[in-house]
Symmetry: D3
Subunit: 158 residues, 6 copies
């Protein structure tokens, strides 16, 4: 059984993330969607809020499990028999940082392969950062994020 993991901060979850999850699920027998517990930046949404949205958006697909984890992604992969880390790529700037992280993860866990999927053209300009900026200024983000995230953003910024 091939297990994959799609890690992210999902702050907030966007239609771009959802597209990658659907495509990644077809590459694995089991796909973990993993919200990072603690990053270096202060998130807008709590881990609980982000997990709730992820579970709501991924329910109905039995091969997907929403998780969180402490510590190194590479360690989590080894402990859980995960053979692929899945990452979405949009612009060139993404690419460089992701390349460095992927090479580092190969050193930390040589048996785990990082696999990249390209964002679809229609999602190529959607990032959590830009979505938050639009929502903070009262813009309509309903084309860029799932309905549950629209509500979450509205209550944060009202």
């Amino acid at each position: 059984m091939r297990k994959g993991i799609y890690p992210g901060s999902f702050d907030p979850f966007t239609n771009g993330h959802l597209d990658i999850i659907v495509r990644a699920a077809s590459l694995c027998d089991k796909l973990y969607v993993a919200a990072a517990r603690n990053g270096t930046k202060e998130p807008l949404f709590t881990l609980g809020e982000r997990l709730e949205i992820l579970k709501e958006c991924c329910q109905g697909n039995g091969s997907i499990e929403v998780v969180t984890f402490d510590g190194l992604l590479a360690d989590f992969c080894i402990k859980n028999g995960i053979s692929s880390i899945i990452r979405g790529l949009r612009a060139t700037a993404d690419y460089e940082y992701e390349h460095a992280i992927a090479l580092m993860n190969r050193r930390l866990a040589p048996q785990v392969e990082t696999v990249f999927l390209m964002a679809d053209a229609e999602n190529s300009f959607i990032s959590s950062t830009i979505v938050k900026e639009v929502a903070r200024n009262g813009g309509d983000v309903s084309s860029f994020v799932p309905p549950a995230v629209v509500s979450q953003l509205k209550s944060k910024f009202s």
Copy 2:
């Protein structure tokens, strides 16, 4: 009448900004130069200080109006009949972020076109960030910013 807008944080205003404004003014019948009220980062100069400099540097050109605005740039354009957002580009890294923002703005206001001008070679390395860093360390920035900004920077860092 074609109306354009050149938005920015102008923290501080540089000769690179001035060059784009002069060139942008020739593309529009009326050009708004718009200082962003509130970004995500804490600016070095207050909105008042930045507006004052912009007004001083743009005076004498009757087709230019210095403004500020709250909320979404796309909304401000729609309300004021502005058909073009003008942005200057320097390096590739600028390009990618600006591309994403431009595509987002097309979704928010399809009737507003984002138009890019390339920084001139002699201004290609001048950014507000680098200028602040040089001034903070006591360097001479008089070739990179208008005289009024030299004074402003000196009093901030003395």
Copy 3:
């Protein structure tokens, strides 16, 4: 009256080119669409074939004129009172080459401004080169080029 020019080899003309033309036309009172007579590479379509397609696709918009020219673009702009060169940008690689050309054109004709529009997301992956490659291998290119170009490509590669 503001005159602009959108130069290209259009070998062949794509929906990406068409999108830029429509948007560029709204920025000018008159827009020249100019097929390059002779480039360094051997084109698939003759200049006559390319002009015919351009005329067919641009007809109905009275402010657009399809032309060709010999010599330097900068000289053509000066002779015809053209104040803006319009270029579409897709990827970062485009950007760098276009930046160099724009800076060179500023030296050759300082009064002519190069103005860049970003390709829309849905056209971001459509280039004449890739379209030719797909058509050469029998693929369906009808979503990427106007109907007249589909026929032209079919007769070239049959």
Copy 4:
């Protein structure tokens, strides 16, 4: 059963290609390694020579089959039930072209996913073009290509 394909011109086959094949094979139940029959550039090695090397280098792994094909890659995938196209990425320039090709292939065959693996650091500077250039000038390429390719290059350039 998940089938993948790793297409390329392999002119010549390098250690970078071999690394991607080994890693790609672990992601699929069956991996086609496909040498492009005809590209736009004149190859140094004939299709026969390239297939011979591929077969020699891939023998011993029962899940790999070396093939060639005419026409569109997307069509070949559909006909053979292949669900993943695998591509290796080195530098940013690779990334942009590959992104455009991947988006085009999604339009031509939406059920086929393009999956990218990053070149390992030690292979990041090895390209067929640079290897040919070194070999043409009498340099030692034995650290960059399999032994059989060393011999092939020597006889081409002696």
Copy 5:
């Protein structure tokens, strides 16, 4: 006598920095390794801690001197008769920022040349930021930094 300087924040010092220092030392008669006293970001290690590590790692090479400085790098170079600033480059993103800084330094001190060395392939993915992230999450960084830095990181994050 040619004097060079290799400035950085070294927060922490990595094997990538060490490789550049060794190579840079062969280009100069005297090489200053200069830890920046105060940047805009809060460092993980104090200036004292960083200087101690630098001295330990550079001892034994008589042509290297570890220093710190206040104010502008360009001023420090002029005062000390330094003719070359040495910088290591990894990815494209590095390149752009470094290009702008180098052009600015040419304006501030035209007699000082900025010289770039490319990171070796095996170090291309090692950055202070990624090393800190791995160490913070309990990962083994002993292949990426000198032994003294491994200890320093352990005591910070224990």
Copy 6:
């Protein structure tokens, strides 16, 4: 004695090349300027024509010697005790290709260091390719190349 080499095709020699040579000469006790005998592309100027221009432009600086060579650059460096290969960088696209070549040269001749200088802002858009294109179309290139090259280009294209 530190020996450096600045290799190129110089087809034709530009003011950008000249700027790099002047700056590189200050880094070495002896600088070889080496015109590549045979590249993969057909040059506009013969090797003899290119060497003549180089000699004319570099005369008067006793530490510079104009040469040509067959075979690998790395071999030429080893045979002549050259410790540094000097390359100029303009845009990001340059950077990536040059990075790969530099890493390859480190493998072929570990004792030879590749050293990069950034093109000055005013030369950042000047490439041999663009200069040829302008000259071919009758444009004035006298700001971009030495006077001798202006004459050479005129006689080629008249």
